[in-house]
């Protein structure tokens, strides 16, 4: 299974394991972090970004691949859609069936709104389902929401929109309670006290988890609740354009059946974009931990109707994507592995950094270790460094891996790698869209009335880097709040005449800006089929 070079290196890792496990590596200074980010983080590679030539964010830098989609052509002409006979006519339209969309649907429904959830794959097919490590909340006596705020604000390079971050941290404990009340199982001790650990960049142990299926446990429970409450869900139905009314307010969406390509209209008093992230865009050619449907659709939909984006130039590369074997290349190795005591070591078996630096710093440090220090281990399709998983049981006792990170144990055991006995090879992988649509504390765009956003499609909650466990938190906090706000707003909305005139305007802006690309957007799904 392993190459000879790997086996030789593993011997060195084993020889130093006991010493390494006991080590408390030094954390980097602020200046050291800045330097490693500047030199090695993919967000800092200038030629990978381009200025937008049109739209609300004109003149701002975004990744090349995103610019192509944001400035792309609509998939349809306004004339191919009959706006006069909507198939669905509801109070609140939720676009996306992940954690944020489901939480929004539940709260909007409970607030008395008639809700429709539309999703391009199945409800629950989302990055939420794949989140492994945990969810943050400051509920321990030695912790508090303002410490949580400081950790997240600093970890995000002091760029977070403070009003949103405040919401995130102060609503966190109640969110955990709400989830627990729905029946989400959290790791607890016999008395009911939450078992919590560190994540990268946390100063207190506030990472709550459900083994390493934290997101799956939350997602399957939210999905069950959506179904139990009788909320209408339409699967395999992608929103491809937002519909406005004559006042320029969001008033529905054009939906496309993913299998038959049939178009239909959903009219709604308020619209919630909860379409998630963008890993399947494969920025800079990186592999991704993300779901098949993570293609930045919400950003495209919103941009086309004039909603501003915040920090669309910053992505999160998770430090520990699987570097070997090939079948799971790029797959997430949860940060919880490091929270439980595994350290990052190079080919000589030496620890080269503190394992719980923030994700951007950790990813940049691994890239540095491989490119500059030459401490990487060669694989048949790249390089990686060791994440020394056997340290976990050395530190916490036998059985810890099976009880706390069973998904990791299973994922590698399918390829005959027993992570209790041998370390695993990791390298950064595209994980999270830090930026997104700019919203106010009611979760609504300031630019487009009645357009709400929740989850990974939002920009600014975390600033320019996100801490582990703050995304599962934000999808539920902002999902619920968006649902409540959208339902409340719907009560005072009278929809005007529906229009798609903005499509022609957008096309004109493209022409005026001299954009000739034929790319159609939103992308909806990546193209992995081999040309045959």
């Amino acid at each position: 299974m392993f190459t000879e070079e790997m086996i030789e290196s593993i011997t060195k890792v084993e020889a130093k394991r006991k010493v390494n496990a006991a080590l408390e590596p030094r954390r980097m200074s602020a200046d050291e972090k800045d330097e490693v980010l500047r030199k090695f983080h993919p967000d800092y590679i200038k030629e990978q970004f381009v200025k937008l030539e049109m739209g609300v964010n004109k003149g701002e830098n975004v990744p090349l691949e995103l610019a192509d989609l944001l400035q792309g052509k609509s998939r349809i002409k306004a004339s191919s859609v009959n706006l006069n006979s909507p198939t669905y006519d509801v109070d609140v339209l939720v676009i996306g069936g992940g954690g944020a969309g489901s939480a929004a649907a539940i709260e909007a429904h409970r607030a008395g709104a008639n809700v429709l959830v539309t999703t391009k794959l199945r409800i629950g097919d989302a990055n939420t389902m794949m989140a492994e490590g945990g969810i943050q909340a400051a509920d321990k006596p030695n912790d508090s929401p303002e410490i949580h705020f400081l950790d997240a604000y600093g970890g995000g390079h002091f760029a977070a929109k403070k009003s949103l971050l405040k919401k995130l941290v102060t609503e966190a404990p109640e969110t955990i309670q709400w989830l627990n009340g729905l029946g989400v199982e959290f790791d607890k001790d016999a008395s009911g006290s939450m078992l919590t650990t560190h994540g990268g960049g946390t100063s207190k142990k506030r990472m709550h988890a459900a083994k390493d299926y934290s997101g799956a446990e939350i997602m399957r429970t939210l999905r069950d609740e959506v179904l139990c409450e009788g909320i209408e869900v339409v699967d395999f139905s992608a929103a491809i354009e937002i519909i406005l009314d004559e006042k320029g307010h969001a008033a529905g969406a054009v939906l496309m059946n993913m299998e038959t390509k049939e178009l239909c209209v959903a009219r709604a008093k308020t619209v919630i974009i909860a379409t998630g992230g963008a890993g399947r865009i494969h920025y800079q050619g990186f592999p991704t931990t993300n779901h098949y449907g993570a293609t930045a659709d919400g950003l495209v939909l919103a941009y086309r109707v004039g909603a501003k984006l915040l920090y669309p130039d910053t992505l999160q590369y998770h430090p520990t994507g699987t570097a070997y074997p090939q079948q799971i290349f790029g797959a997430l190795v949860t940060e919880k592995v490091r929270s439980l005591g595994a350290k990052l070591v190079n080919k000589e078996g030496d620890v080269f950094m503190h394992p719980l630096e923030t994700r951007d710093v950790a990813a940049a440090s691994i890239i540095k270790e491989v490119r500059e220090t030459k401490g990487g281990i060669t694989t048949p399709f790249g390089e990686g460094v060791w994440l020394d998983t056997p340290m976990i049981e050395l530190k916490n006792g036998e059985g810890t891996i099976e009880s706390r990170i069973p998904a990791m144990l299973r994922m590698f055991s399918k390829y005959n790698i027993d992570i209790r006995k041998v370390p695993i090879l990791v390298y950064p992988t595209l994980h999270y869209q830090n930026g997104g649509i700019d919203i106010n504390t009611d979760c609504m765009s300031d630019d487009v009335e009645n357009l709400f956003v929740a989850g990974e499609a939002v920009g600014g909650i975390h600033g320019r880097n996100r801490l582990m466990g703050n995304s599962l938190l934000d999808v539920v906090v902002f999902g619920r709040d968006a649902g409540k706000s959208a339902a409340s707003k719907a009560k005072e909305v009278t929809i005007g005449k529906l229009t798609l005139a903005h499509l022609a305007n957008f096309e004109k802006q493209r022409t005026d800006a001299g954009i000739t690309s034929k790319t159609e957007s939103p992308k909806l799904l990546p193209h992995y089929a081999r040309e045959v």
Binding site: P145, G181, A190, M194, R410
Partner: protein, 226 residues
Amino acid sequence: MSANKMVHVYLMGKKYEVPEDLTIMTAMEYAGYELVRGVGCRNGFCGACATIYRIKGDQELKTCLACQTKVEEDMYIATLPFFPLVKKLYNIEDITPNEQLMMQLYPEIYSCVGCNACTKACPQDIKVMQYIAYAQRGEFDKCAEESFDCVMCGICSSRCPAGISHPQVALLARRINGKYLVPESAELKERVIEIQDGKFEDFISTLMEKPVDEVKNLYNNRDIEI
């Protein structure tokens, strides 16, 4: 690693030659399929890619997740992108977590014939029949623990002669366990009340109003719990 070695697989009965180190899912894409159904997280968490296969010459019908399984020579592959599980509706606030509950909602679990086909078919190696036995006895905590790694792909139910929707039974057991059986966190409850009472409001507001250099200083010198 011999990257170029090829194997033969039969996708829905049609023969293709694909590299041997691909998963079933990537082999389908190699063959030219643009997937919409039967694909989801591609990491073994979502259960979208339930798959049935048989190796030529073998009697046994095998099951797996397409994203988590390597192709083999002479593999006959059929995908199962959707399975009609029975999902009963309930209000989690109103239910009483006792043995009668399963009898009311999922009475078919008592028709289990003990064939163990569910367990044999589970791609997550869960003891499915065992957790159904726990559910029958109203032992929701054990059912929850045994079924925890379920991705709800539905393969177990596709093999069940009694028509049981195992993943839905397990999900109900886990919700009951999470909500009613495991003790609540007293610290969490306390903290929620403190926040509602506005205890931290001033601290956060003060922090938010500080000049950024002061906040940077606080951040760079904060205590980190060991």
